[in-house]
């Protein structure tokens, strides 16, 4: 397939792997931020092409995985109510809350619908004026513009029966939090290309300056990731720490200005709890006061709550790159995609799901 096969070419991949081996003189640990990159690495076996001394650490960039348990429970509570049409990206439906998931709410009679775009939820609200339509706004800077557009359009249309349960999160504060940890092993980052397509590259400059860590904005195909690794190792070997853009076919340095404007119009930056990690300051997006009428948590009178994670689930350590999934004692035993302890085992971008799906030989 055009624009895809070119980036999966076996000969070019081998050449990149050889070049990486040639320039690498010592062990390096590089974190790929995005769960989509993690899945590419495991699905294509990219890590197996690299020298043993190059360690790829899997990052927190799985929106489903980091959505806090409290918000999932709120989503379940809203979705179970009569007269509610609860719209969600498909990936959220299997994510376990404290006692249930959206699929079981649906099985119990809740009107839970998979949408591919938040604008579909706006359309559903227009078509069902007597129902309350709620969109579960999950994701990083990648999906935030689409959620913002949904709020903007709903506002323009004067829809009173539409609201959003907002759980958007931001990448740079999470990278800062990882680097600030005393256990941090990360020496370089592959930043998420699609996030930068929206936000541009400038917001990584302060991180590079503060922590002296190379950040390479990287795509998702095998050759993207191999080239990103090569660029990152070249910086490390040469003692440089800069923001570089591997994914220049999609990412402009300034990003997508209209999308950024829309985010600023609809959202305001708030502190956010990350599942398994804890609260990270200034790491989330909440609806700004002009759009507060669309806040589902307020509309349904949901109160703040604190829910404890199952102690056995080490997904927080996985998301911060402290351990790899097979190092968790529950992995593949007490925790499987059919009986997950944490979201990292069920999300299509979760690191545990990637290892279970592509790597485990002892099932």
């Amino acid at each position: 397939m055009k624009y895809l096969d070119e980036y999966r070419d076996a000969d070019a991949a081998r050449q990149y792997a050889q070049e990486i081996a040639r320039v690498t003189t010592q062990p390096w640990s590089i974190m790929e931020v995005c769960g989509g990159q993690t899945h590419s690495i495991l699905k294509f076996g990219i890590d197996q092409l690299l020298p043993d001394c190059v360690n790829l650490i899997h990052g927190p960039g799985c929106p489903v995985c980091v959505t806090p348990l409290e918000l999932i429970d709120q989503a379940l509570e809203i979705a179970a109510r009569p007269n509610v049409i609860f719209c969600s990206f498909g990936d959220m439906l299997r994510v376990p809350g404290s006692t249930a998931d959206l699929l079981s709410i649906k099985a119990g009679g809740g009107d839970v619908r998979i949408v591919y775009s938040p604008l579909d939820a706006v359309r559903i609200a227009g078509e069902n004026p007597v129902s309350e339509v709620v969109f579960f706004g999950v994701g990083f800077e990648t999906t935030a513009p689409a959620t913002a557009m949904a709020a903007y359009q709903a506002s323009r249309k004067g829809l009173k029966n539409f609201s959003i349960l907002v759980s958007h999160v931001l990448v740079p504060p999470a990278m800062e939090a990882i680097l600030a940890s005393p256990h941090c092993r990360v020496q370089g980052f592959l930043a998420a290309g699609h996030v930068c397509a929206v936000m541009g590259c400038a917001e990584y400059e302060p991180i590079v300056a503060r922590h002296r860590v190379p950040i390479v904005v990287t795509g998702f195909e095998p050759l993207d990731i191999l080239q990103g690794v090569l660029m990152c190792i070249a910086q490390l070997e040469q003692g440089r720490a800069e923001v570089e853009n591997q994914y220049s076919r999609a990412v402009r340095p300034a990003g997508n200005q209209p999308a950024q404007d829309l985010i600023r119009e609809v959202f305001t930056v708030v502190p956010r709890k990350w599942r398994g990690v804890g609260e990270i300051p200034q790491s989330g997006l909440g609806l700004s006061s002009a759009y507060a009428a669309f806040d589902a948590a307020k509309k349904f009178g949901l109160t703040d709550r604190v829910v404890l994670e199952p102690a056995e689930c080490l997904s927080g350590l996985v998301l911060q790159g402290h351990i790899k999934p097979p190092e968790c004692p529950a992995f593949g035993k007490r925790c499987t995609p059919e009986h997950p302890l944490g979201a990292t085992m069920v999300s299509s971008e979760g690191a545990c799901a990637a290892y279970y799906r592509y790597r485990v030989l002892t099932k």
Partner: protein, 351 residues
């Protein structure tokens, strides 16, 4: 029976006075009698006396028989490249074919939802007749029930089928051997993506058509040519990944596939990439895998590709060894990974 095309073209909807199914159409009274007489018997019955009884009485050849049943639930009822009616005939015929049987007779049980447009039912019933004619099978008995509006997705169909086994092979996972070639009869994932392309909420414009088709004829051709078929499996729910994992586990053998050999059309591939789905886990309705000895593979492929443009029947891998029982896949880049069975339904990703 006449030419199925003539049959459908020359037959306007036979029940005019009720534009939609009512509960009474399943109530055992005159309306149900009318539905059976004017619609089902008109479409299926050249043995109408037989079909009026509670059971069909059949003359069967001696020897081994294959017997199977399957229920068909699909939304929308009419989709690009097929409909629930044709699918319910082809699906059960294909299940019989996976034993190497020659399909003979089908039953058809209908669960209709109150309010179903009569015209839709007629289209689907005509499509079933055309599909049965294409496969050389007869629909000899059936049943109709009507459920309240909102309690069924338009209609559900159950078909059961019997076929005669005219070969002496044991076509099952137990016959699979180390070294067997693994063949597929065409490109993968088209049915599932065609359905998804027209579903509400996941709509994307496109011309993807289902691969819904009968596969009994090519299987019987393989047998007639003396190909020593060890195992067959049709690639319905769960796609290639589920079918091969089931066989690997049942046979206690390790399968190795070559990703670059697995046929997936560019449009299916693109749709899967957009939605974050794996085409190897997507349902097909006219595709099967065949395990054959390596020396029989070239002959089998030339038979399967006869009459197909593009020659999309290919060998995608081999049975590699004894343990562990799993499906491994050598990726396009060279390293190997597991091809696991899906945990549940594939759900589109967020970004």
């Amino acid at each position: 029976m006449g030419d199925p095309l003539d049959f459908t073209a020359s037959c306007p909807i036979p029940i005019q006075q009720y534009p939609r199914i009512q509960l009474a159409h399943g109530g055992g009274g005159k309306l149900m009698h009318q539905l059976v007489e004017r619609m089902f018997l008109k479409a299926f019955g050249d043995q109408s006396e037989e079909m009026r009884h509670d059971s069909a009485v059949l003359n069967m050849p001696a020897g081994r028989m294959a017997f199977t049943t399957d229920s068909y639930v699909v939304r929308p009822l009419l989709f690009p490249g097929g409909d629930i009616g044709a699918m319910s005939v082809f699906g059960t015929v294909n299940d019989l074919a996976m034993s190497g049987a020659r399909p003979l007779h089908l039953s058809a049980g209908f669960i209709l939802e109150e309010g179903l447009p009569m015209e839709t039912l007629w289209k689907i019933v005509c499509s079933m007749r055309a599909a049965a004619d294409r496969c050389g099978v007869r629909i000899v008995t059936g049943d109709t029930k009507v459920v309240d509006k909102g309690k069924g997705d338009g209609m559900f169909i159950n078909t059961s089928g019997i076929g005669v086994i005219e070969h002496s092979l044991n076509i099952s996972p137990a016959s699979v051997r180390v070294g067997d070639a693994i063949l597929v009869n065409g490109d993968l994932g088209r049915h599932g993506m065609a359905i998804m392309s027209v579903r509400e909420g996941l709509g994307f414009e496109g011309t993807l058509e289902s691969d819904s088709a009968p596969v009994a004829a090519p299987v019987l051709e393989l047998l007639a040519a003396g190909v020593e078929i060890h195992c067959l499996r049709d690639l319905t729910r769960g796609g290639l990944a589920s079918a091969l994992n089931e066989i690997a586990q049942a046979a206690n053998l390790r399968l190795l596939l070559q990703e670059k050999l697995i046929p997936v059309r560019a449009d299916v591939h693109a749709a899967c990439e957009v939605l974050g789905l794996d085409p190897l886990l997507v349902a097909c309705e006219g595709r099967f895998v065949a395990f054959v000895p390596p020396q029989d593979a070239p002959r089998a492929l030339s038979i399967l590709n006869r009459g197909q443009s593009g020659g999309s029947a290919v060998c995608i891998g081999e049975v590699r060894g004894e343990i562990p029982p799993l499906v491994a896949l050598q990726t396009v880049l060279g390293p190997s990974r597991i091809l696991d069975m899906p945990s549940g339904e594939q759900l589109p990703r967020i970004c």
